[in-house]
């Protein structure tokens, strides 16, 4: 290039070209489902029983309560907050509804509504603390979790409550020509969440708030309101989960729901819900829930000694999360 003259080369139109390396991309995007199928096959090879209709039904039932809780968990995550009190809320509201039925003798529908209503209010209350009082969600909901666990213990006085009325346990026990009814609630919840997130203004706002709260506010989104609604809906879903849990197990223990905490957080994250908010899909959450349920059921069926179940399950979750991290890293 000479000193003072400009060199100008001709250019072609905008530089777009090949699709992204599609195969790996596709695999990584669907990793939950591929991992799920792989595990089904593996468990099936170990034990033919895994492929039976009965086991399929069992998995569906098991996935229902975890699924409801995972859906509830996803909402605060999507708005870039968290609600650790959800499993405790499940347990507390489960006991409240059941005791309204057994101890107060209220009709089952009313009793169930009391439980679900209480759970919804608790979600709402959490949201008020976080948005209006500006409490940090991690700590606020952690303390709410401890409060609710304590309240459950106080409520049940350590007893296990049984003797629920037939109406109360109907949804959890009824089968139609062998197929359990309860998973229908989960299917409805998935459809409802799908419509909420994909087709409503609130759904879009949830993703926006999770992505960038300040910009969402300037774009005319009422950030506090969106968070309050997310937490409240999460509380409602927790209440329904609590009711289903009581109805399915026909009993309330004094640590009802607590065991779901880690799985309920793991399922959405495995399914691609970002802990930083703004990313995730209902289908992904479903995948995460099914994956975790298959791991639990599968390990039980191939009769892994119970000392190893926790560890092996944990390793499988670890692998799922690791693969997901690779996906996020390369494909955003």
């Amino acid at each position: 290039m000479s000193d003072t003259t400009m060199t100008a080369t001709t250019t072609k139109p905008p530089a777009t070209s090949t699709r992204r390396s599609s195969m790996t991309g596709w695999v990584l995007h669907n990793v939950v489902w591929i991992w799920l199928i792989a595990l089904v096959v593996i468990f099936g090879l170990f034990n033919q029983y895994f492929f039976t209709l009965f086991n399929l039904q069992n998995i569906m039932v098991q996935a229902t309560v975890l699924g409801m809780i995972a859906l509830a968990m996803s909402l605060p995550l999507l708005v870039a907050e968290i609600d650790l009190s959800i499993p405790a809320n499940v347990g507390f509201s489960s006991a409240l509804g059941a005791m309204a039925n057994t101890d107060l003798g209220l009709p089952f529908a009313l009793a169930a509504l009391i439980g679900i209503g209480a759970a919804t209010l608790i979600g709402f209350f959490n949201a008020i603390c976080i948005t209006k009082l500006k409490m940090v969600s991690l700590i606020q909901t952690l303390s709410m979790m401890i409060i609710l666990q304590g309240a459950l213990l106080a409520l049940t006085q350590g007893r296990t409550i049984t003797s629920l009325s037939p109406g109360y346990v109907w949804i959890g026990q009824t089968t139609l020509s062998g197929w359990p009814l309860m998973p229908i609630v989960f299917v409805l919840a998935i459809l409802g969440m799908y419509v909420l997130l994909r087709h409503t203004v609130l759904g879009r706002s949830i993703f926006a708030v999770g992505g960038n709260q300040v910009a969402s506010n300037s774009a005319g989104i009422r950030v506090d309101r969106v968070k309050i609604l997310s937490y409240t809906i999460a509380g409602f879903l927790a209440g329904v989960a609590g009711y289903l849990l009581a109805s399915w197990q026909m009993a309330i223990t004094s640590n009802q729901g607590s065991s779901y905490l880690l799985y309920a957080i793991a399922a959405p994250i495995i399914g691609g819900v970002s802990v930083f908010g703004g990313r995730g899909s209902v289908i992904g959450v479903l995948g995460g829930v099914l994956l975790l349920t298959v791991i639990q059921v599968g390990l039980a069926i191939i009769s892994v000694p119970s000392f190893y179940v926790g560890m092996i399950g944990g390793i499988m979750i670890f692998i799922a999360v690791a693969i997901d991290a690779v996906r996020v890293r390369y494909f955003g």
Binding site: M1, S2, D3, T4, T5, M6, T7, A8, T9, T11, K12, P13, P14, A15, T16, S17, T18, R19, R20, H199, T200, V201, L202, G203, R204, F207, A208, G211, N212, V214, A215, S216, N217, S218, A219, G220, I221, R222, G278, R279, G332
Partner: protein
Amino acid sequence: MTTAPTFRLEASPAARTVLRVENLGKIYGGLVALRDVDLSVRAGTIHGLLGENGAGKSTLVGIMSGQRKPTSGTIYLDEKPLAHVDVQAMEKAGVFLVTQEPMIIDHLSAAENLMLGIWPKRRFGFVNWRKLRQDAERMLKGTGIAADARAGALDAVARRKINILRAMFSGGKVIILDEPTAALTVDDRAQLFDFMRRLKSEGVTFIFISHFNDEILEICDAVSVLRDGRYAGGSEDVGSLTSEDLSELVLGRGLVLFEREKRQFSAGAPAVILKDIRSGTLDVPSLAIRAGEIVGVTGLPGGGGKELARALFGLQRASSGTITFVDGEARTLPAHPAEAFADGIAYLSDDRRKDGSISQMSIAENISLSAEVALARGAFMNAEQERALSQRYFQSLGIKAPNSEVAVDTLSGGNQQKVCLGRVLATKPKLLMLDEPTRGIDVGVKQDVLRIVDELSRTGVSVIIISTDTDELVRAVDRVLIFHNGRIREELAGEAISRSRLRNLG
């Protein structure tokens, strides 16, 4: 550029090539951002880098500084090929990049951000806090930024300055500035240029990215231009070039500068009347804007222009004030942007990173975000109309992307700005307030944006443009308000809006 650059006698220390790239290529997913770029930068010069939005400038300097990985090609520092390139290695070797978007850790103080990674150490790796503070205070002198201010609370300009100062004081030998002047006032810019000249005389090399031809002509020794990811030309003697030459090189065609046909608005009833707007130091007793008028607002940062817009938009609490549209009655100012949009008031912030787009959402989703509520049927989104709306602004603003479904964070800075602009335009406002609307936008698109705003004004929309870009004010507005200490100090109209008057706002 594969041959060695010709020497210039008057720049004897500058003869050596300090940084060079060869056959550099970068592919993001399926998009080719750079292809076969060769470029060399001579030591002790200020090397301008020009190109349209999305041409690949940030990508190129990102690779040079180790922030991004090239897909192909080699980087040479002092003519030695570098095997392993990352930020730490490059900073250690003396190459510092000030990125286009502020890189600030919000919860740290200004001083800590300033010294990030270059903090003074004691033995055993402990940070020498006292020295850190002293150094920081020295660096911040005259900038109006307090050393212990929380960085998250600082405005866009201050955040930008912190990044620039960090690089300038780093002791680096190559300092790369990606659109450093985009957020600076005229005075700041002059200060920055003085600083650059001083360091240059000490042998420091600069790569300087800007969309302002006059800045390139003022300060650069050499210039290179990228177009669609390729090296499109350049010169080792900027002195022989004119602004038109640069535009032509950037665009590949001649540039027609936009000039608004100024209108006199002394007659005609006002479309918007503001009364007793008070908020903090802001005090505007009365201001009327006519339908179709474009009012420019300028002044020093904190002067009141931005504060006025934010108060009118519900982002900043006002202690008093009413707004009256011609067809309605006086109303108190909106308490939230949602109310503002519903009232036909729209505002575009100058801080697009923090306050502009939702980066993980698609272009289309971002454009329709603020108009969504107005289009919705009850709780449900009106997907069809939203898509049509997004598509319209995607096309009319010429946003450079494979399609409108890609996430905003994959766009170049200027194109992100266009998305934000599309979002507020899509709400069909009656009063449109744009805060530095062409910041970071290339010369070609800048004309397009000014033209779009001009056309919008002809449909009767009243527009306020808050700007520190004198050129933009001279060519695109009907009237200029100069704010000072929260009040309107002076009003210019017609011929009185001149570059010389606007350069000097102090």
